[in-house]
Structure formats: structure tokens, C-alpha cells
């Protein structure tokens, strides 16, 4: 169990972490998501005691590691392993690299040899022992770094943006490996990433880090569909953020007035409540007029005011009294004959909207 209790961290004048608190349970994959420079890496470095916080407590299995002596620190650190964003091969063979942590622990040679082979097998690099580490590709080296981290049989594996510098294929390999390792070795995995989708794929729980603060902690479903603030919503790709006022509520189905447009959403908020609506752009669908009957509560006509192709998808901005952003596949876009300035019909479910009460007027 790793706990942060009101941790503040400075680099010189700059406050990089502002009052950060969370706790990570044993055996879970816990992911910090945030843009570069938000403080994710610093959190991981603090857990590994590579930095010292300005104030606050950091507890590892109940021990406050900000207050312990070097000898004790090494004892606690030896139960963890960290993989850094930049794979950093040390001089010599892959074997020497992977064996390093065990050598520091003065494990005997036979045991080292056995465990190095075992770890290399776990990362799919069996037989790589004698290769020179610096000759490996980025993806291979990152796998060696993971093997190096797991040979010591840590309880906690810290992964700082492990795939940030890798190609898509290596990224996929590493991602599936992380899930596999966690299951096989029963590790607690603490991961940082700026890749939302990666966070969603791997994590049991996610903490969104924005500008040195933890904006929200929850399951990926909670974070992605029920963001608690504009900042978190933006971060996780919720692009439709609308402010409005509840005008009626019937058995948990609220009608919200947004700039004169009536939107129906699932919420217990009573009439008169100021709320913010969050919706993911994938949840908006388009249809040809009169062509379908839908269970969706919200059906609007609008005009397409922006079209941006993104790979196999298309991002559309539609003016339907309120401006909405939607993402659909290129194929649907073509089949429906959509185009810039064209009038279209769109719909979304009341359950696709996440309603948050607005307390302040920001």
C-alpha cells in the first residue's frame, strides 16, 4: 500500500506538486494520466525515494519514507523497481544489465543466472543474454529494462511512461506484457502515461494529474464518462462540455436548458440547479431524416461547421443551437453523405450525458 498525504514538491521556485493525496492498493494497476510536465514523473520518483518532498507524508506499507535514514530507504526501495521513460542500457551484456539488481543484493551466481533467464523469458527475449545492451532497439531495450526491474521480484513495479518513445508495435508488446506480468507475479503496478487509451486499457484505477494536482481518482469508466471538472474532462477527451440549468426532473430524467436548447439527461438534480453536461464525442450519432426510430431522447437538427479527418475517423463540429463535437468513422461520414455546411440530424442518449452540479460560476 502506497499513500501520499498532502504532498508538496518544489524544484527550486517552481511548485511541481501542490497538495497531492491518494492511496494505491496492493495488487492493482494504478495509472497517473496527465499532460507532460503535470507532475506524474515526480510522483513516481517520490515513491521510489529519488526525490524528497517539501512537505507531506509518503507512506509505503505504513512506513513514512520521508523520515527514514538511507539504510532503511534502501531496504524499502529494494521491494520496488522502476522503469524509466528513456531506456538506459548500462555498458555490457544484456545479462549484466538484468543481473544488476540481484548483484546489488549479493544474490549468489547460480540464483542470478536462473532468475535472469527467467525474467528474459517473461519479456520474450530468451537467448539475448550475451548481446550487448547498447545494440538493442528501443523496444527491446525497454523490455530489457522491464526484465531488469522484475528479476528482483519486487512487490511494486513503477513504470514511468514506459512506451512514450516507442513505435506502435513495441508499445502493444509492452502493454500486453504489463498486464501479463501483473497477473503472473501479483505485482502492484504504478504507471504514468499521457496516453488516455493506454491508461484505460491497463488500469484498474486512474488518477488524472493536471498542473501538479490530482484532479480525480476513479475507475477508467468513472474518469472517462463522469469527469468531475472541465480540466479532467478535457484531459480524457470529453469534448462536449455544456453549461445549463435544470428546468424539470421526472424520476431521474432531467431536462436541462442549454442556451435555449432542451437536452434530456439522467440526473437527480432538481429544477433550478445549475449544471455542467459532459459527453464524449463518440456518443453522438448521425442519421438520415425520418430513417430511424431511436430510443435516444435527444434528437436535433444542425449544420456542420467544421470537418477534420483524423485517420479512419472524422471529427465534426455541428451547430445545433449549441455547438457539439462528434467523432464518427470515415465510412459513416461518406455513407451519410455528410459535408461541410450541410444540414444533418444527430442524436445522443440521455444516459451518455454526465451531469455535474455547478457550484461556482467558472
Amino acid at each position: 500500500m502506497i499513500e501520499f498525504d498532502h504532498v508538496v514538491m518544489n524544484f527550486g521556485e517552481k511548485e511541481v506538486l501542490k497538495d497531492v493525496s491518494f492511496s494505491i492498493n496492493d495488487g492493482e494497476v494504478f495509472t497517473f494520466i496527465g499532460p507532460s510536465g503535470s507532475g506524474k514523473t515526480t510522483i513516481l520518483r517520490l515513491i521510489d525515494m529519488l526525490e524528497r518532498p517539501k512537505s507531506g507524508k509518503i507512506l509505503v506499507d505504513g512506513t513514512n519514507v520521508t523520515k527514514i535514514r538511507d539504510r532503511e530507504k534502501i531496504r524499502v526501495r529494494r521491494r520496488m523497481s522502476m522503469v524509466f521513460q528513456k531506456p538506459s542500457p548500462l555498458r555490457g551484456s544484456v545479462y549484466a544489465n538484468v543481473a544488476m539488481g540481484l548483484r546489488f543484493r549479493k544474490v549468489n551466481a547460480d540464483e542470478i543466472s536462473r532468475r535472469v533467464s527467467e525474467s528474459l523469458e517473461l519479456v520474450g527475449l530468451e537467448g539475448y543474454e550475451e548481446r550487448k545492451a547498447i545494440t538493442l532497439s528501443g523496444g527491446e531495450m525497454q523490455r530489457v529494462a522491464i526484465a531488469r526491474a522484475i528479476t528482483t521480484k519486487p512487490n511494486v513495479l513503477l513504470l514511468d511512461e514506459p512506451t512514450a518513445n516507442l513505435d506502435p508495435v513495441s508499445t502493444e508488446t509492452i502493454e500486453s506484457m504489463i498486464g501479463d506480468l501483473k497477473n503472473r507475479l501479483g505485482l502492484t503496478v504504478v504507471l504514468s502515461t499521457h496516453d488516455m487509451v493506454q491508461g484505460q486499457r491497463l488500469a484498474n484505477r486512474i488518477a488524472v494529474v493536471i498542473d501538479g494536482r490530482v484532479g480525480q481518482i476513479g475507475t477508467s469508466k468513472e474518469i472517462f464518462y463522469q469527469p468531475m471538472s472541465h480540466a479532467v474532462a478535457h484531459m480524457v477527451g470529453v469534448e462536449d462540455i455544456l453549461d445549463g440549468v435544470v428546468t424539470e426532473n421526472e424520476a431521474g430524467l432531467a431536462v436541462i436548458d442549454v442556451n435555449g436548447v432542451r437536452i434530456t439527461a439522467c440526473s437527480d438534480a432538481s429544477p433550478g440547479t445549475a449544471v455542467t453536461l459532459y459527453m464524449r464525442p463518440e456518443d453522438i450519432t448521425f442519421y438520415e431524416k425520418d430513417s430511424i426510430r431511436s430510443s435516444a431522447r435527444n434528437m436535433f437538427a444542425g449544420r456542420i461547421i467544421e470537418v477534420v479527418p483524423i485517420g479512419p475517423m472524422v471529427r465534426l463540429k455541428v451547430d445545433a443551437g449549441v455547438k457539439l463535437t462528434a467523432v464518427i468513422t470515415q465510412r459513416s461520414f461518406e455513407e451519410l453523405g455528410l459535408a461541410l455546411e450541410k444540414e444533418t440530424e444527430l442524436t445522443f442518449k440521455a444516459s451518455a450525458i454526465h451531469v455535474v452540479e455547478r457550484k461556482d460560476t467558472d
Binding site: 520518483r45 529519488l50 534502501i74 526501495r77 522502476m82 538506459s88 546489488f104
Partner: protein, 229 residues
């Protein structure tokens, strides 16, 4: 004059290929004194460099600046300093080391230690912070960290050691002042060249000069090989 030089070079080559005892004796002594000085200087410079690199303390910047200034310590100043220390009236006069090979070693050590500390510092800062963090995160104690990082920088550090040796074997000021150029005892390549040239024994001078150049060539070649790795 031109003939004299060509004759000199011919005779010099003869002195070398026939392994002239005096030439061999001077060469061996030069190598012995400078290699010993380099060895002792490494044993001082690498740990001190490591300490300066890994420890944070007040005045670190200033200390590094002083060390860098001492790269250019004039050899005669090092000679003067050691002479003052070792002369009969000096604080270490009782050791009787003036005009001995050991005294010359001390002079050369003083001359090259700053350079070697500086090169060690450059070598160690060439090891990325991520590597250092990796080593620490793998559970290294502070001693294990220092050893691992020094090993990681070993080729660059070796380059610094070779540079120090080059300065030691080629300097003449300290060797002359502390050693006194005593034939068969403290006469080394550089002091011999200075003397033989002044008394007109050009072939011997040239022979010794060629050997000094060859040593420099070997050293540079070795340095090149090391840094290629």
C-alpha cells in the same frame, strides 16, 4: 648544418636500433617515474573526482574552477613548490628526497592530479542522470552506486589517466629542478634532451626525441582505441 642534422638523425636511428644502453636506460627511467606518478595520481584523482561529483557541498563550483585553473599549472612552478618542500631547510627536508626519482614522482603527481580530477569529473558527468537513477532504483547502496557509475565511465576516465601520463612524461621543468638531471639516477628523456642539445650531442638528443615522440604516439593511439569502444 643540414648535413649535421641528417647525420644526427642517421646516428640517432642507429642508437635506437642497436638498443644503446644509455638510451635504453634513460627511456626506462622516464617510463618508470612517469608511470608510477600516473598510477599514484589516479589513486588520488579518481576517488577525489568521484567524491566531488557525487557529493553536494558548499564551494563545489569554486573548487572545480580552481582545479580547472590548475590544469595549466606551469611545470616549473610545480618544481619550485616541491623543491621548497623537499630542500634541506624545507618542511619535508628530513626525508632526503630532493634529487631522487621519488622526488620527481611527487612533482609529476602534483602536476597531473588536477588534470586527472577534472577529466574524472567530465567522465562522470557524461553518465546520464537516468543511468544514475536506474542504478539507485535497482537498490544500490551509495558505495555500489559510485562504483557502478565509475565503471560506466571507465573508458572516459582512462582517457583522463592517459592524458595525465602524457603531461607527466613530457614535462621538463619539474624533472630538472627536483631531479637535477643526475646521469644514471635522475636523468630522464626530457632533461637529457635539454642537456645533450646544449652540449652539442645532437644524435643522442634526436634519438631521445624520437623515442619521446613514439611514446606520445603510442599513448595517443591507445587513447583513440579506448575512446572508439
Amino acid at each position: 648544418m643540414a648535413n649535421e642534422i641528417i647525420d644526427g638523425i642517421q646516428q640517432a636511428i642507429q642508437l635506437i636500433v642497436t638498443l644503446n644502453p644509455e638510451v635504453m636506460d634513460i627511456t626506462a627511467r622516464s617510463l618508470y617515474i612517469s608511470l608510477s606518478a600516473t598510477l599514484v595520481a589516479s589513486l588520488i584523482a579518481i576517488p577525489v573526482g568521484g567524491f566531488i561529483h557525487f557529493k553536494e557541498f558548499g564551494g563545489k563550483r569554486g573548487l572545480i574552477t580552481i582545479i580547472q585553473t590548475l590544469y595549466a599549472l606551469p611545470t616549473v612552478l610545480a618544481g619550485l613548490l616541491v623543491w621548497l618542500l623537499l630542500s634541506r631547510a624545507g618542511p619535508l627536508g628530513f626525508l632526503g628526497l630532493l634529487f631522487t626519482p621519488t622526488g620527481m614522482m611527487i612533482g609529476q603527481i602534483i602536476l597531473i592530479v588536477p588534470l586527472m580530477i577534472g577529466m574524472t569529473l567530465i567522465a562522470l558527468s557524461g553518465v546520464s542522470q537516468t543511468k544514475q537513477d536506474t542504478v539507485i532504483s535497482l537498490g544500490a547502496t551509495s558505495v555500489q552506486t559510485v562504483i557502478t557509475i565509475v565503471k560506466e565511465a571507465r573508458f572516459a576516465i582512462l582517457g583522463g589517466i592517459i592524458l595525465g601520463f602524457g603531461r607527466a612524461i613530457s614535462e621538463v621543468g619539474a624533472a630538472m629542478m627536483i631531479g637535477g638531471n643526475i646521469r644514471g639516477y635522475t636523468r630522464v628523456l626530457t632533461t637529457a634532451i635539454a642537456l645533450e642539445t646544449s652540449i652539442g650531442d645532437l644524435p643522442l638528443s634526436i634519438a631521445l626525441g624520437i623515442i619521446l615522440l613514439l611514446i606520445a604516439l603510442l599513448v595517443t593511439g591507445f587513447l583513440f582505441l579506448v575512446q572508439e569502444r
